[in-house]
Amino acid sequence: MIDSADSTSAAPAQDADALFAQVYDRLKALAGARLQRAGPHESLDATALVHELYLRFGRHGEARFEHPAQFFAYAAKAMRHLLGDRARDRLRLRAGGDWQRITLTGSGTELALQSAEEAMALEQALQKLEALDARAARVVELRYFAGLTLEQTAELLALARRTVDRDWRFARAFLQAEIG
């Protein structure tokens, strides 16, 4: 069984950090630009975003990935961080609740706070899952944050579809039980 870690860890660790930083920065910029262009109520398609990013990286030769799996692994991680950062930012707003309550009201805010908490809970649960079963956590990452299907995930990680299905079933139950 080939774990995708083999392909991602092929590059030296330092390069991997740099690559990740690069993917993250680009993704953040791209997502920011998209959100601005799209306006507050239009949707942002993560899958399209990640794929566009992949194409851009390929086109400009900005970073060399040995395998698409490596790119998607990074992109998923980058998305995960992006979401975490954003959720934290949003909760921080509420943290200033003593003096923010007046400016931030309405159902939109409630939803935003709820989702931010959900995102933080997801992040924490995912960290626990990582400690327990790293591969299952990776499947979740690719599915949630890079928007891949289970089929694509199996292909990318060079795993049998059956294995990925089992990973997903366990991960889903675990996360659901954690988040409640």
Binding site: L35, L83, R92, W99, Q100, G108, F170, F174
Partner: protein, 927 residues
């Protein structure tokens, strides 16, 4: 195959027709069962967490745009008044509070970051406390800080009204010397903070004010660190600093140290003198920026500054301060201040390589009048010098003795400061060198540093050895002592104080390595002379007493402790503190030796004395608390034991920031206590933490690591994970044999192996192993040692299981005799031995003796450990059978019903016995 991981359990369970029922049958651990159960529920519901993945969440969360809190709002005890400024990391408000009827004004900083996790909040509070402790007339004081609802931190700082140092210099039209004098004040203040291990991190003109009263005030000392957002792992996500004044290493995300502040001071100095920031990458000197040819007005520059005044020394000072390599800068802000003062006084500055010509030039400037000297005058000077040198030769011997202490103290302090400066007190936690690294580094420095004299070096090595010992790193302590003793042998007579200090440290290291006989070999030949050494003699006497106790020479140990107490009481200084220490150590020693009543009496007194003395907590108190917990636990006072253990863990965590054998001890002993209380789920994290700490700190064959292994075995046994339990015990026995460990834990491990063999029904093996355990303990501790109680208990059990009832009675008799002789009648071992005795009596048909005994045992069991139900079940079973045999059918029925109420389906019980019990519960008699 039994599933091992949560996932295994989950996947096996979902294959079953009725997963819940299967789980109940196969998974004995209720906590794990509940966890798997939750997974099964979630799986059955088919729900997906965070449906829609990251995209939906990201959209819903939206972008966060913080808006400014309005004046008039209350933050902590303060009311916001007006916004003073806003930076990249925080807003600052003028704020006030009502303080005992007066209005107290502060600058209130509201960082944009929030502090959520418990760990981050603790870290934040620690930093705040460190900053609040920093008091200096030239540093704006941190008055108060807190974390509001939702993790919003606030920091109240002394409000300073004044102008930035640059504006002040311009408006007051200060000349060069006045400006330099201001900078000296700034540097001294920064240096003082550095000595408290606080780095500013963001020194810039707007943080260096001159108050309306003309006093220099540094703002935001160390605050930058509080403003930095950290991610969950404690990594700094975005360091807060001002790029224009940031040192290269800071901009590159490298280590921020005191040298970083020195760099910023250099930039500030350059700007104060030239009106330009000198770190623009041009590498140009300050003086070249003051070229007369340059026409543009630079308001902040010196009014009529003469370029030649700046050229040379001041150029050199600035360039040295802003060297790209932190190691090439001034070693401290104080050194920079020194150089500025030398410049002001016209002395040679250290920034330049002091060539002979350079010194001469300085001499000439300083003594302008005397430069026109004749040859004759020079000769006269030389003659006078020669006379002075000769006279000095006579005076030196006296003077040297007087100044030696001061010199040594100064040299040691300077050295330690240099070590801490090199340690990078502000490095991110994961890059910060450990104390062990520091000791290593300091040891290497001490040997390398040619400025140190031999006696100072020996002093330092001894201190470092002591630190190593306190860290539990005895190997390093031995190595450092080896090096120090080489110097000591050359410098001092063999009965000098430093030499005895080295011996006492050596003995301590041996004791730490569980080699008390080696410690005794060091101390015993010297003990007649201890009285002559004051406090050191008391320490030596204590070490001797402890080593004697370690090797089982109890009476001599008692005498030695009494001598130590007498010596301590005679000390001219701090006698109370020393006698207290003797008491603390003696009582823990007695308790460790299981002489509880004596130990507890002294301990209670010592602890009360400690609490009234106001002495801060230390290792001795920690040890005493753990020992008290042990004594209370063995004596059956669970509540007192638990309180002592918990207090000990809290104290250990206060005392040691890093993993330490003492912390592992406090954690492990509490874990063992919980196991004994059958509170397995609570015990597990403590037991595992103690074991991994000890393995890492002490190695796998250290007696304390073996203790932890034994505790793990007991935990697993309690959890009915019997194979794992047996494996843990057997691993311990193997280590004992392989490493030839001769410690009480080894017979105990053998006893536990025997117990597990008995439970597994291998009663032949169990009996043989228990006999081995008793023999091993007798060999180790002699015939009347309380440590024999445990192996004898195992032996009695094995004998009962094996059907050797008469032999079992002999064993329990001996156990009871030793327990009585050592004051342990109320302990756990005699209690269970009485149960074994009752079993044997019943089996031998001595029912009249069985009945009162089992009644007493059951009463004791209910009172001692109400949670431990399995033994109670067996005890009730025996009682029911004995009552039935005596024809007391109602009572027998009641006992049987009580047993069944505890465990309706006792798993390990053989079915015939269960049927018998059920019959008893109905009929009050056996089949």
């Amino acid at each position: 195959m039994t599933p091992h991981t949560l996932r295994d359990w989950f996947e096996r369970a979902i294959e079953q027709a009725d997963p819940a029922a299967w789980l109940l049958d196969h998974c004995p651990d209720p906590a794990l069962r509940a966890q798997v159960g939750r997974l099964l529920d979630a799986d059955a519901a088919g729900a997906e967490p965070a449906t829609g993945g990251a995209v939906r969440l990201a959209e819903e969360i939206g972008a966060a745009e913080p808006s400014a809190p309005a004046p008039g709002l209350q933050v902590g005890p303060y009311v916001l008044e007006s916004l003073l400024g806003e930076g990249g990391f925080a807003r600052v408000y003028a704020a006030w509070r009502d303080h005992a009827g007066t209005r107290r004004e502060v600058a209130l900083k509201l960082p944009f970051r929030s502090v959520h996790s418990h760990e981050a909040q603790q870290q934040y509070q620690r930093e705040v406390r460190a900053l609040a402790a920093l008091e200096h007339p030239n540093i704006a004081h941190l008055i108060d800080a807190g974390i509001g609802a939702g993790g919003q931190p606030w920091i109240a700082l002394e409000r300073v009204r004044g102008a930035s140092i640059l504006d002040h210099a311009r408006e007051a039209r200060l000349d060069l010397a006045a400006r330099l004098r201001l900078m000296v004040q700034v540097c001294r203040a920064v240096d003082a903070a550095h000595r408290s291990l606080i780095v500013h991190r963001d020194l810039k003109p707007s943080n260096v004010l001159v108050s309306t009263a003309g006093q220099v005030k540094l703002l935001d000392f160390g605050i930058a660190k509080l403003l930095q957002p950290e991610d969950d792992a404690g990594h700094t996500a975005a360091p807060a600093f001002t790029p224009a004044y940031a040192a290269p290493e800071q901009r590159q995300g490298g280590a921020v140290t005191t040298a970083t502040d020195v760099y910023a001071l250099g930039v500030l100095l350059g700007e104060l003198v030239t009106g330009e920031r000198v770190n623009d990458g041009s590498g140009r000197t300050p003086s070249s920026r003051l070229g007369e040819a340059r026409g543009e007005a630079r308001p902040q520059a010196l009014p009529p500054v003469a370029r030649r005044k700046v050229r040379g020394d001041l150029d050199a000072i600035v360039m040295k301060a802003i060297d790209a390599d932190p190691a090439q800068r001034y070693a401290s802000a104080g050194a920079l201040a020194d150089d500025l003062e030398r410049l002001l006084d016209g002395h040679p500055v250290h920034a330049c390589a002091p060539t002979r010509w350079y010194r001469t030039r300085k001499f000439v400037t300083r003594h302008k009048g005397g430069v026109a000297v004749t040859m004759a005058f020079l000769l006269a000077v030389f003659a006078a010098l020669a006379l002075a040198v000769w006279q000095a030769g006579i005076a030196r011997a006296e003077a040297e003795r007087a100044t030696q202490q001061t010199r040594r103290a100064t040299a040691t302090r300077d050295f330690l400061v240099s070590v801490f400066e090199a340690a990078g007190p502000d490095l991110p936690r994961e890059h910060r060198p450990s104390l062990e690294d520091l000791v290593d580094d300091a040891g290497a420095r001490a040997l390398r540093d040619t400025a140190l004299t031999d006696d100072v070096r020996a002093d330092l090595l001894l201190s470092l050895a002591k630190v190593s010992g306190a860290l539990g790193d005895y190997e390093r302590e031995h190595a450092l002592l080896d090096r120090a003793e080489a110097d000591l042998a050359r410098l001092y007579a063999p009965d000098s104080e430093p030499w005895l200090r080295a011996r006492v440290l050596r003995a301590g290291a041996w004791r730490g390595q569980a080699r008390p006989e080696a410690a005794l070999a060091v101390l015993e030949p010297l003990h007649a002379r201890f009285a002559a050494y004051g406090g050191l003699g008391v320490d030596a006497q204590i070490a001797l007493a402890q080593a004697l106790a370690d090797v089982g020479r109890g009476e001599e140990s008692t005498t030695a402790f009494e001598t130590a107490r007498r010596l301590a009481a005679q000390l001219p200084e701090r006698a109370g503190e020393r006698t207290l220490r003797v008491d603390l150590l003696r009582s823990s020693g007695l308790i460790d030796a299981q002489r509880f009543s004596e130990g507890l009496a002294i301990a209670d007194r010592a602890l009360a004395d400690w609490k009234t003395s106001g002495r801060p907590p230390d290792r001795d108190v920690l040890q005493l608390l753990s020992a008290l917990g042990n004594a209370a636990s063995i004596g059956g006072d669970a509540a007192r034991a638990e309180a002592s253990y918990r207090e000990a863990i809290v104290l250990a965590e206060q005392l040691y920031a890093r993993p330490h054998p003492d912390t592992a001890w406090a954690v492990g002993i509490y874990g063992s206590f919980l196991v004994a209380q059958a509170r397995y789920a609570e015990a597990e994290p403590f037991i595992e933490r103690a074991l991994s700490m000890r393995r890492a700190l002490l190695g796998e064959a250290h007696p304390e690591t073996l203790d932890a292994l034994a505790a793990l075995g007991r935990l697993r046994a309690g959890q009915s994970r019997r194979e794992e339990a047996l494996a843990a015990f057997e691993q311990g026995v193997t280590l004992c044999e392989r490493e030839r460990v001769r410690q009480p834990v080894c017979p105990r491990l053998l006893g536990s192996v025997s117990q597990m063999q008995a439970i597994a029904g291998r009663s032949d093996q169990a009996l043989a192993t228990a006999a081995r355990a008793v023999a091993a303990q007798r060999e180790l501790g002699g015939p009347d040692n309380p440590q024999l109680l445990a192996p004898l208990g195992f032996l009695a059990r094995a004998q009962v299981k094996h059907g050797d009832y008469a032999a079992a009675l002999g064993t329990t008799d001996e156990l009871a005799r030793i327990a009585a002789a050592t004051g342990n009648e109320d302990g756990r071992e005699p209690h269970y031995a009485r149960f074994q005795r009752a079993l044997a009596l019943f089996a031998l048909g001595r029912n009249d003796e069985t009945l009162p005994l089992i009644g007493a045992v059951i009463a004791a069991q209910k009172q001692r450990t109400p949670n431990e139900r399995r033994p109670l079940f067996s005890m009730l079973l025996l009682q029911a059978r004995a009552l039935a045999r005596a024809g007391q059918r109602d009572e027998a029925r009641a006992a049987a019903r009580e047993a069944l109420a505890i465990e309706p389906k006792p798993a390990p019980l053989d079915p015939a016995l269960l049927a018998n019990l059920q019959h008893l519960a109905r009929e009050g008699r056996e089949h």
